[in-house]
């Protein structure tokens, strides 16, 4: 098989920062964002992390809570408190222009029944703010 195209190409180890479960990957991103902010804004410890997670995002708040302590271990946010603010799903019907509440990504418009609804709130997953020392 060695003559086949690409058979001699090898994936350099260490180029993939991911971990099992996308919530853990996201928590690693949280840790990295905190570390960058610590350097820029001159703080050495984080005591509270507030995340804003939309109900239509593909993130499970419980999985974030479950993984948070492990992901923050040995970092400047070790033992920090985690607050998760959940944002309701909101959509705008492209047919009748009404704003509707959305529980899932496939909720049709409750006024005209159209499935053409644009999500305007609820897909968020971001770090809102931090309490730091």
């Amino acid at each position: 098989m060695t003559n086949l195209p690409g058979a001699d190409l090898h994936w350099p180890e260490g180029c993939m920062a991911g971990t099992a479960m996308h919530e853990l990957s996201l928590l690693e991103n949280v840790r990295e964002i905190l570390e960058n902010h610590a350097l820029q804004q001159n703080f050495s410890r984080v005591t509270k992390v507030t995340l804003e997670i939309g109900k239509l995002s593909c993130v499970e708040p419980e999985a974030l809570r479950f993984g948070f302590d492990v992901a923050m271990k040995d970092s400047l946010a070790e033992n920090a408190e985690l607050i998760i603010t959940e944002l309701n799903g909101l959509g705008l019907c492209r047919q009748c222009q009404q704003q509707i509440e959305m529980e899932t990504l496939h909720d049709p418009c409750i006024y005209c029944g159209s499935p053409f609804v644009t999500v305007i709130q609820g897909a968020e997953m971001k770090i809102k703010d931090l309490c730091v020392i």
């Binding site: 098989m1 086949l4 195209p5 690409g6 058979a7 190409l9 090898h10 994936w11 350099p12 180890e13 260490g14 180029c15 993939m16 920062a17 991911g18 971990t19 099992a20 479960m21 996308h22 990957s25 996201l26 991103n29 949280v30 990295e32 964002i33 570390e35 902010h37 610590a38 350097l39 804004q41 703080f43 050495s44 410890r45 005591t47 995340l51 593909c58 993130v59 040995d74 970092s75 400047l76 899932t104 990504l105 496939h106 049709p108 499935p115 053409f116 968020e124 997953m125 971001k126 770090i127 809102k128 703010d129 931090l130 309490c131 730091v132 020392i133």
Partner: protein, 257 residues
């Protein structure tokens, strides 16, 4: 591709080490500082961040996208459950189209080079990314893969993601389209069971249609569910192994390259 992290090498172990070293320094500094001020009042303050958890991945994805546009590389991110037939679909696609334009493939699996070997047997270069514990490919990994693989200008780049209908939906790789493959040996309600993926995809391929007489899969119901989640999703029914309606897919591709 990796201007953001600065790891311009194909192997970024050095950079990783330096980042880790920096973090250790940060932690060490924090500990010594903590020790120093022990017993004194420490003032807490609020720092506004307002940063998306995927901002790093999205920045890499935009770099990849710019690279693809500059080099006229049409990139697809193929996603599905394990066993939906992505690799077979790619092998047959390559056989049908490799005389018309250059094709390259990036394969994502947790372990083994099996899929990349199947692609290489068609004469097309393939790079296997073993994600280890990770359940998805990310844009940073794709940037590195591009440097290793050396994709030609004016070509088709197919990225076969890890078989998983959940996590890959969140990670933009810089592709032109996500293509979700659903085979008729699965449930016809997958689009509403895993709505994020079907919402994110531009095209759904219903594969293995030759097996329809033997399985309890309602094609119309599946399409109805898919359009509920994503009214604009395009749909092609085909069989990659038997070739049924396969030209609808290769025409879709050829029109876009």
């Amino acid at each position: 591709m990796c201007g953001i992290c600065g790891c311009g090498q194909t192997n970024n172990t050095t950079k990783l080490k330096s980042v880790l070293g920096q973090n250790r320094h940060l932690i060490k500094h924090e500990h010594s500082h903590h020790g120093h001020v022990h017993g004194h009042h420490e003032t807490e303050r609020l720092v506004k961040v307002e940063q998306d958890l995927l901002s790093k991945n999205n920045a890499y994805a935009e770099q990849n996208r710019a690279y693809f546009q500059q080099h006229h590389i049409f990139t697809l991110n193929l996603v599905s459950s394990p066993g939906a037939g992505k690799t077979t679909l790619l092998v047959e696609t390559i056989k049908a189209l490799k005389g018309r334009f250059p094709i390259a493939v990036i394969e994502g699996d947790q372990q083994t080079e099996h899929d990349a070997d199947r692609i290489r047997a068609t004469g097309v270069p393939a790079l296997q990314i073993n994600t280890g514990r990770a359940c998805h490919l990310d844009a940073h990994g794709i940037g590195h893969a591009l440097m290793v693989l050396g994709v030609k200008d004016h070509s088709l780049l197919a990225i076969e993601n890890v078989g998983n209908l959940v996590c890959p939906s969140s990670f933009d790789l810089g592709e032109a389209h996500k293509v979700v493959v659903l085979s008729v040996t699965e449930g016809d309600d997958k689009p509403i069971k895993y709505p994020d993926m079907f919402h994110a995809a531009d095209l759904m391929l219903i594969n293995k249609t030759d097996l329809l007489p033997y399985v309890d899969f309602d094609v119309e119901r599946c399409i109805h569910y898919a359009r509920q989640v994503n009214p604009e999703i395009q749909i092609i029914k085909l069989s990659a192994t038997k070739g049924d309606n396969f030209s609808a897919w290769t025409d879709w591709l050829a029109q876009r390259i």
